[in-house]
């Protein structure tokens, strides 16, 4: 994709990679608590999201994936590194109005009951978002028509605009929350665990909806999830985080077929596969370490099933496994062309 767009009108070199909507470069996020050493939730994370592209960000709880997502939209300020949206630096959100250039960068949250206003009719909430997000001004009739279009876009009937969030199931509420995000005419969405609070049958519905929105409208999406099988299904690229660092990233299919980093292998092996011949999933021993006391060398080494002496003392360098595929492991090696699928 990036090769294709690179040939287009923008002069190369003038403003870097124009093909990326969202760009995070060596982002660090630290949390400070009085009387404690600062905890580094994210360390040197770089990733990009292009138009029409879904990037899946996976990892265990506490690995920093949500923090990275919040940094991407400006909900937390990085302590180092840069976040750029369409080449413009993303500033941390303050009490002032968000600059117009950032209004099309939006977020979908995990719990739709918490992200919607319980005391405002859903139609009104969506109309608010149209006004605030696009700066358009219009009367009630116009608002009703626009809200109806948005509700239908997310698979709800226009007639529900006069109802309140508590009247809906979790899946329906998440659709309403997505309609409200679409009201701002976004070109990039960060979705933080958008399906994990939903019922089994609603999870597939919402994941499909988000995937179709990205591909049909050509908007970029950073899809943060601990559900690896859904990420495999809808993400074009997969980014794996462990303990604050990105350990592997690449095109979804080859990474899943034959991961280069042992942590990615462990995550995939732990997924239970439903079916007639299911076996117990593979356990990854140990816990994510205490953020205040990161292990020396590779941060994964205390849990790594293929640890070597070198891993205990030296931090691994990032290896280019193949073009667009990198892995931070001492065992990772570039793969010959014919093995890359």
């Amino acid at each position: 994709m990036s090769e294709l767009t690179a040939i287009s009108s923008t002069p190369v070199g003038a403003s870097g990679e124009q093909s990326n909507l969202l760009e995070l470069v060596s982002v660090d996020v630290s949390y400070h608590r009085r009387g404690h050493a600062p905890g580094r939730a994210v360390i040197g994370a770089s990733l990009t999201v292009g138009p029409g592209e879904i990037v899946g960000l996976v990892g265990e709880s506490g690995c920093g994936k949500s923090t990275l997502g919040r940094a991407a939209v400006g909900l937390v300020a990085p302590s180092a590194g840069e976040v750029r949206y369409r080449g413009v630096p993303v500033e941390a959100i303050t009490r002032r109005a968000r600059p117009e250039s950032l209004r099309s960068l939006q977020m979908v949250f995990q719990d739709p009951y918490a992200s919607l206003n319980p005391r405002r009719r859903v139609g009104k909430q969506i109309a608010d978002a149209i006004r605030l997000g696009t700066g358009a001004s219009f009367g009630d009739d116009e608002a009703q028509a626009r809200v109806a279009t948005l509700l239908e876009r997310v698979g709800l009937s226009a007639g529900i605009a006069s109802r309140y969030p508590h009247e809906f199931s979790g899946g329906q509420c998440q659709r309403i929350a997505i309609a409200r995000v679409l009201a701002t005419e976004p070109s990039c969405i960060v979705a933080d665990e958008p399906i994990s609070a939903l019922d089994a049958s609603a999870q597939a519905q919402i994941a499909n909806l988000l995937a179709s929105i990205a591909t049909e409208s050509g908007l970029g999406m950073l899809f943060i999830s601990h559900d690896l099988s859904v990420v495999r299904k809808i993400a074009h690229r997969t980014v794996v985080m462990y303990f604050g660092q990105i350990v592997e990233s690449g095109t979804t299919a080859p990474v899943w077929a034959d991961p280069s980093h042992p942590y990615t292998s462990a995550l995939i092996g732990a997924i239970p596969h439903p079916g007639a011949h299911s076996t117990l999933p593979v356990e990854l021993s140990g816990d994510v370490p205490d953020p205040a006391k990161p292990p020396p060398g590779c941060r994964f080494h205390p849990r790594c099933p293929v640890v070597m002496d070198k891993c205990r003392t030296e931090e691994p360098v990032v290896v280019a496994v193949a073009p667009g595929w990198s892995s931070a492991c001492w065992r990772s090696e570039p793969r010959p062309i014919d093995e890359r699928l």
Binding site: A204, Q205, S229, R232, P274, D287
Partner: protein, 326 residues
């Protein structure tokens, strides 16, 4: 019925008081757990899966009414007085809940929590109870059990806390462990460890497990039998690998088809349309009919009777569109 069954649930009903009157949330649920087996109960929100578990333990919310029969080791549990129930709960049947932070007391040391019920139920001395606690913590692979006893719950990770909750539930050697979404709050890597642990312990110690979850992946790896609930009723019941290998009820078929791994590479997932019904708006006839692509006129008015389609398999669907495939 059968002497080899640790638990027999027959025609269980649970009615709850809602703003619109008494509503039946569990309606005629029957299943049995053979000794030493794991039964999985699958269902979405509102399916009645958690209420079924709470009914077994006599932990239903105030005002709930029950009907039918729940026999544990041949003894009827429904209608027992609180004092009689206390002799079963924790000793015969124990519970592991979804969030270990709610089942562990945050202010008490693990030792206090792990020995109190052992002393009360089994009449152990302080020393004996402490030894049992150390043994159980070792069995669930908590490193350094002695030190763990002196710690508070917040000092452990979520996975370790769930291990402690399991150790606590097993300390009185119950013959049935009820696990309500025991891994839903955990990461996949930690979940894998808990599932392996449950499977190993029940083999070593010979207890049975009733595990409740919406995650068919979890159930397919660990449960021997599977009970799929929808709208408070059993949709399908049978041996797990048979049910998941060839689901026969349109709802179980739909659940399997909606899983990410079920659809073809590059194709979108195939979800069931609509949402599960709420207690206040339970459809007439088959509760699944508004979402069912096979529904016929009769499904809108007639509640399908559950019937045996093979010795170990029961299905509640009058249309039975997958009869030939299974």
């Amino acid at each position: 019925m059968n002497a080899g069954h640790v638990l027999e649930v027959e025609n269980l009903t649970v009615s709850l008081r809602t703003s619109r009157g008494l509503r039946r949330a569990v309606d005629g649920v029957s299943f049995a757990i053979p000794s030493g087996e794991i039964l999985g109960v699958a269902g979405e929100s509102g399916s009645g899966k958690t209420l079924t578990a709470l009914a077994l333990l006599g932990l239903l919310p105030a005002g709930a009414r029950t009907g039918g029969s729940v026999r544990f080791e041949g003894k009827e549990l429904l209608g027992l007085k609180p004092r009689q129930l206390r002799e079963v709960r924790g000793v015969g049947v124990s519970l592991v809940s979804q969030d270990p932070m709610t089942s562990l007391h945050p202010m008490l040391r693990i030792e206090v929590q792990m020995t109190e019920h052992v002393r009360a139920h089994l009449g152990f001395s302080k020393e004996q109870a402490r030894e049992r606690a150390i043994e159980m913590l070792g069995a669930v692979r908590i490193p350094d059990p002695e030190r763990a006893l002196a710690a508070h719950p917040h000092e452990f990770s979520g996975g370790m806390r769930q291990r402690i909750a399991i150790a606590m539930a097993l300390a009185c050697e119950p013959s049935l462990l009820v696990a309500d979404e025991p891994t839903t709050a955990l990461d996949v890597t930690v979940q894998a460890g808990i599932l392996r642990l449950l499977d190993r312990l029940r083999r070593e110690r010979g207890f049975s497990v009733l595990i409740i979850t919406h995650d068919l992946g979890v159930l397919s790896t660990i449960s021997d039998r599977l009970c799929v609930l929808y709208g408070g009723r059993v949709a399908e019941y049978g041996i797990t690998r048979e049910v998941l290998g060839a689901p026969r009820h349109p709802y179980s078929q739909g659940l399997m088809r909606s899983l990410p791994a079920a659809s073809a590479e590059g194709a979108p997932m195939v979800p069931i349309g609509g949402a599960p019904p709420s207690l206040d708006a339970m459809p007439a006839g088959c509760a699944f009919h508004p979402r069912c692509e096979w529904a016929e006129e009769s499904c809108r008015s007639v509640i399908p009777r559950i019937r045996a389609v093979s010795p170990a398999r029961r299905v509640a669907c009058d249309i039975d569109p997958f009869a030939t495939t299974s």
